[in-house]
């Protein structure tokens, strides 16, 4: 007999949704090394409405703190394009409150959560897993039938159990952020995104408002840039009249797996979900929604494995297949979009913004260009820009 049916490592959005999914039907334990759920955040806290629908979530004012109706994009030459809808398209969250709510829900369903419990070892023994867990320098062994590794971008659990989830530096972004208050001049109903290879090489700077005058102000850049993410962000803030006199009330950092999707997200007695399984949108780096969906799906497959008493890598492979159908294949297409974006110079970027419309841009990003789009782009809009045309043709070739 094992101590638990399922042990979930990591109490982030992925782990907590896995616990909500499984708590009723199995004996479930959630372990997290931190002392407080949701804190410190490694996140700008934006979540689009689509995920609320997918996850059956109703925005509550306690944690869905700012309604977002669109975005404003700022090009390298200082122009901006505003896309604002009449209704909410998403929210900026207060993640520590949101995640605590998920935790309460998971416990209501029957799961148990232990904080300040760090998994430092894992081993497969017969048909079960033994985890070595450290709490206040004391080590203990806990056993289970199946582990769901939701331990985020710094995941070691899957690696300990023989699944290589190493991040590829080329497909990993370095992120840095301040939660700032006392800032002015930014519409709090919009996400503000600033592009330019000088201000944010291979990435962008964001302002995600949390209420009027308060926002997450951050940057994500490639791993191989000359300077650190902090360097670029600090430098840019000094140039912004609305920000430079603001106060910093939180410092956040983190790395973001923006691609490098895994062929396998399972091993014997193991499933991986969320950042640990590189489940992040390669273009904007958003991962909360995908982590929740991935956690829920992993939960479903863990329950199935328990019911059928089948825990082999092969038996669990249905999980990976289903995830690709659900989200992974779309994300892979968007990865191509990111690779295209990375190759654009400031000049290309300015030109594209001037010459293509929002719908075309979205279809480029989603990898869903139609035949008609291609004809218009290749024969009319990009014909005077041979380099850009070549990039786009390469991109559009399947």
């Amino acid at each position: 007999m094992t101590d638990y049916d399922i042990i979930i490592v990591g109490a982030g959005p992925a782990g907590l949704c896995a616990a909500i999914e499984t708590g009723k039907e199995a004996k479930v334990l959630v372990l997290d090394r931190k002392q407080e759920i949701g804190c410190p955040k490694r996140c700008a806290e934006g979540l689009s409405l689509r995920w609320f629908k997918k996850m059956n979530l109703k925005p509550k004012k306690e944690w869905a703190v700012q309604e977002i109706k669109g975005a404003e994009l700022y090009t390298p030459n200082g122009k901006s394009i505003k896309m604002k809808a009449k209704k909410a398209e998403g929210y900026v969250l207060e993640r520590k409150i949101f995640e605590k709510e998920l935790a309460i829900e998971a416990v209501k369903k029957g799961a148990k959560i232990l904080m300040k419990n760090q998994v430092i070892g894992a081993e497969k023994k017969d048909n079960e897993i033994e985890l070595i867990v450290e709490e206040n320098k004391e080590k203990k062994k806990i056993t289970c039938k199946i582990v769901i590794a939701c331990d985020g971008v710094d995941s070691l659990t899957a690696k300990m159990l023989g699944l290589n989830t190493k991040l590829d530096l080329k497909e990993t972004d370095s992120g840095y952020q301040y939660e700032m208050t006392g800032i002015t001049g930014y519409d709090e109903n919009l996400l503000h995104l600033f592009f330019g290879t000088d201000i944010a090489p291979r990435g962008y700077i964001w302002i995600f408002p949390k209420r009027k005058g308060t926002a997450n102000v951050g940057i994500g850049i490639g791993a191989y840039e000359k300077e650190t993410a902090k360097y670029y962000l600090d430098k840019w803030i000094k140039t912004q009249d609305g920000l430079k006199n603001g106060s910093i009330i939180e410092v956040n950092a983190g790395v973001i797996p923006v691609g490098g999707f895994l062929e396998k997200m399972q091993a014997d007695n193991l499933l991986v979900a969320g950042d640990a399984g590189h489940m992040v949108d390669p273009i904007h780096g958003g991962g909360i929604g995908i982590a929740m969906e991935g956690g829920r799906l992993a939960g479903k497959h863990a329950i199935k494995a328990i019911k059928e008493n089948k825990f082999s890598e092969k038996d669990l492979s249905e999980y990976t297949k289903e995830w690709y159908k659900l989200s992974g294949n779309d994300l892979k297409r968007r990865l191509k979009g990111r690779h295209l974006l990375e190759k654009l110079t400031n000049d290309d970027f300015n030109y594209l913004v001037d010459s293509i419309n929002v719908e075309e841009a979205l279809r480029i990003g989603n990898g869903t260009l139609t035949k008609k789009d291609k004809t218009i782009l290749f024969t009319k809009k990009l014909i005077t820009r041979p380099k850009l045309l070549k990039l786009m043709i390469e991109y559009a070739r399947d």
């Binding site: 971008v153 191989y224 902090k230 790395v255």
Partner: protein, 60 residues
Amino acid sequence: MKMTVENDPDKCVYCGGCVGVCPVQAITLKDTKIIIDKNKCINCGACVSICPVGAMKLKK
């Protein structure tokens, strides 16, 4: 002389980024501390490249 990688605890904001990119699992994050297993480290510099605040340095 062999290079070694060092963490600057004054700069580090314990985000765990370096832990994730290390190819040989030489780094662990405990509470607010980064611990590097020098015996495992192969001095590849991945942790130095990814760190958002420049808290990892390769030293002689």
